[in-house]
């Protein structure tokens, strides 16, 4: 009877000795009102008189804490609410309800003292001045953030070395390749040595080699400087290589917060083999190699357990008239779909016992 818990005891009592989280999100909700246009000319006219709105619940009741030096992957399909959350944390959006604090500040107040301590890198937007060499943006950022000369020089030297920027620094940004530009974007965002770094799709659109370089850099930066990093990505490899902890949201709700090795072992232990054949191959033949995801006589996609990928690819090449074969990395979306039980696989149906650590 009396077991109903009252208000939580003073936090200082329960977590005495623990350092305070750098990022604190408590029951965050963010709703948008989106104008909904009726189709056709008549609809447009009607819209002038009375507008109808649809409420979009971009983030709903999300809570998490991130501590100093953590590198956390933030996952979810398109429109899940990842970017919205990052924008709330950066002070670009104010929360509909709930509490958010970053480094002890209310982000949406956009105090310069807070802004000098974090960076937000949006993979699809750029802060570099398009018509000037990247070094000009760097020098400008130095002054805007008030970085002392000596510190600027040291940081720049380090970033140039880590990202291999000697040659790109003095070239007009618009003449750089996407990968070179991304490296410069990262450098521009780090010149003021932010304590907190939000990276939204930092490897999007990059080739594999460049993705790897960016990944190596993020890992090294986190190791050297102990910066707290929250990263979103579509590429499982990014997350796998960088993050021990992941937070997964979908439809604005938090569905997983815990160790990555747990989730990958449980949900993403396959890859997809794309094969193109010289002559038609029967579907039944392909079933021997794994679950056939899509099938046409001359090409097919087969889901193969990660551990067997080499063996089965070899066998496929040896036994069938293969023209071309590609191994596709598992996409985060796939993993999430499985978590949701979107497929009838046994392993997806039994995640209830997975414990967050």
């Amino acid at each position: 009877m009396a077991a109903v818990p009252g208000p939580a005891p003073a936090p200082s009592a329960s977590v005495a000795g623990d350092a305070a989280p750098v990022i604190h999100v408590h029951r965050l909700c963010k709703y948008y009102r989106v104008y909904q246009k009726q189709p056709g000319l008549l609809g447009s006219l009607r819209g002038l008189v009375r507008r109808t709105y649809r409420e979009v619940r971009a983030v709903e009741d999300v809570s998490f804490d991130i501590y100093a030096g953590e590198l956390v992957g933030f996952l979810g399909p398109n429109g899940a609410g990842k970017t919205t959350t990052l924008k709330v944390l950066s002070g670009l959006l104010y929360p509909t309800s709930g509490r958010v604090s970053v480094l002890g500040y209310d982000p949406w107040k956009r105090q310069p003292e807070f802004q000098r301590q974090f960076s937000l890198v949006l993979g699809q937007k750029n802060q570099l001045w398009w018509d000037l060499p990247a070094i000009e943006t760097f020098v400008l950022n130095k002054e805007i953030y008030g970085v002392p000369d000596g510190q600027f020089r040291r940081t720049l030297d380090e970033l140039v070395e880590l990202l291999d920027l000697e040659r790109t620094l003095y070239v007009q940004v618009r003449k750089l390749s996407l990968g070179e530009r991304m490296k410069c974007e990262l450098a521009a965002a780090l010149l003021h040595s932010p304590r907190v770094l939000f990276l939204d799709e930092p490897t999007i659109g990059l080739d594999v080699v460049m993705q790897q370089r960016i990944r190596d850099f993020i890992k090294e930066y986190n190791r050297r400087h102990g910066a707290t990093i929250l990263l979103t990505s579509h590429y499982m490899d990014d997350v796998k290589e960088l993050c021990r902890r992941v937070i997964i949201i979908n439809h604005g709700r938090l569905i997983y917060d815990g160790r990555l090795d747990e989730i990958v072992r449980r949900y993403a232990d396959w890859k997809v083999l794309l094969a193109v054949f010289e002559q038609p191959v029967e579907r039944a033949r392909l079933e021997e190699f794994g679950e056939v995801v899509s099938y046409e006589p001359l090409q097919a996609a087969i889901r193969v357990p990660r551990s067997e990928i080499a063996a089965r690819t070899g066998r496929l090449l040896a036994e069938l008239p293969v023209l071309d074969v590609t191994i596709q990395e598992t996409e985060v979306e796939d993993v999430i779909r499985r978590i949701f039980g979107g497929t009838a696989d046994a392993d997806a149906a039994a995640p209830a016992s997975a414990g967050a650590t």
Binding site: H24, G104, Q117, D131, I144, Y145
Partner: protein, 294 residues
């Protein structure tokens, strides 16, 4: 279903963390503004060809008007109180001032809002207004480079038809101050105009509407005191003549005594009003931006 949440801890850090950087002193801020202007100037220089094309539009029109008026003056000394040299000087003044004192931040501002690029500027520890102003001032510095040779050439050709204005020595600093106020006024009005993008996805229609009035009542086509009375009457209630028409009248020595101080007073009033207006509209727009998606 895997609904796994980390145990909710509800305590927030007690003390805001201090930056790993020294505090932003006034001197550091000034350095930041200077760097911003320097970068903006470099960028504006990249667009000097584009700038030259726009400038051509701006200086050809007043020169054509001079040609037209010279025909009108054939055989006349005076048109509604404007002697021939005054009229030529008026349009030379329009040529220079309309180019230097009318910025165009509305395009950039509305583009930032529409594309969401604004977010990049909002997270920086320097006001977005500083970026807007630096960029416009930089473009105008490039215009100075362009307008100077055209002015010198025009004076060489039209030399005998103009006479220097009869201004007291203190008229010159007053003229300069009035020009700065006119530029600031126009800048604020047009940033406000660009802010319509917070509410309207295609703002060009609103821009055209604004330009119609600005063109007519700024004095670009003809001196405002030559406009038909009912048309001119509306103009007295609008801010546009305070952009460069009033400074120009001052320069031509056509504003003296009480009328001069009254005009400058109203200009100042409009400037203050436009600053307040742009602040209010910007803030309300940002509230919407923060609510809608950034």
């Amino acid at each position: 279903m895997a609904v796994i949440e980390a145990p909710a801890r509800s305590e927030a850090p007690a003390q805001p963390a201090t930056a790993l950087l020294p505090p932003l002193t006034l001197r550091a801020r000034l350095r930041a503004y200077r760097a911003l202007l320097a970068a903006s100037y470099q960028e504006a220089l990249q667009y000097r060809a584009e700038s030259a094309v726009w400038f051509t539009f701006e200086f050809v029109q007043p020169l054509v008007m001079i040609g037209m008026w010279l025909t009108v003056y054939a055989g006349r000394q005076d048109v509604d109180g404007y002697a021939r040299p005054d009229m030529v000087l008026y349009y030379l003044g329009v040529m220079v001032l309309a180019t230097l004192l009318v910025p165009h931040p509305e395009w950039w501002v509305s583009e930032l809002i529409r594309t969401g690029e604004l977010s990049q500027y909002l997270i920086k520890p320097i006001p977005v207004a500083a970026w807007q102003l630096a960029s416009e001032v930089a473009w105008k510095l490039v215009r100075v480079l362009l307008v100077t040779p055209v002015l010198v050439l025009s004076l060489l050709v039209l030399g005998q038809t103009v006479r220097p204005p009869a201004l007291d020595w203190w008229g010159y600093p007053l003229f300069l101050a009035s020009c700065v106020a006119g530029f600031a006024l126009c800048h604020c009005l047009k940033v406000t105009l660009g802010c319509t993008a917070f509410w309207i996805s295609k703002a060009e229609g609103v821009f055209s509407f604004y330009w119609l009035f600005e063109q007519l009542y700024s004095g670009r086509f003809m001196p405002l005191d030559l406009l038909p009375a009912p048309v001119a009457a509306l103009g007295t209630w609008l801010p546009f003549q305070y952009i460069y028409y009033v400074p120009l009248q001052l320069f031509l020595g056509r504003l003296t005594g009480a009328a001069l101080w009254q005009a400058l007073g109203v200009q100042l009033l409009w400037l203050v009003t436009s600053v307040l207006l742009v602040r209010v509209v910007w803030r309300r727009g940002l509230v919407r931006y923060e609510a809608m998606g950034g």
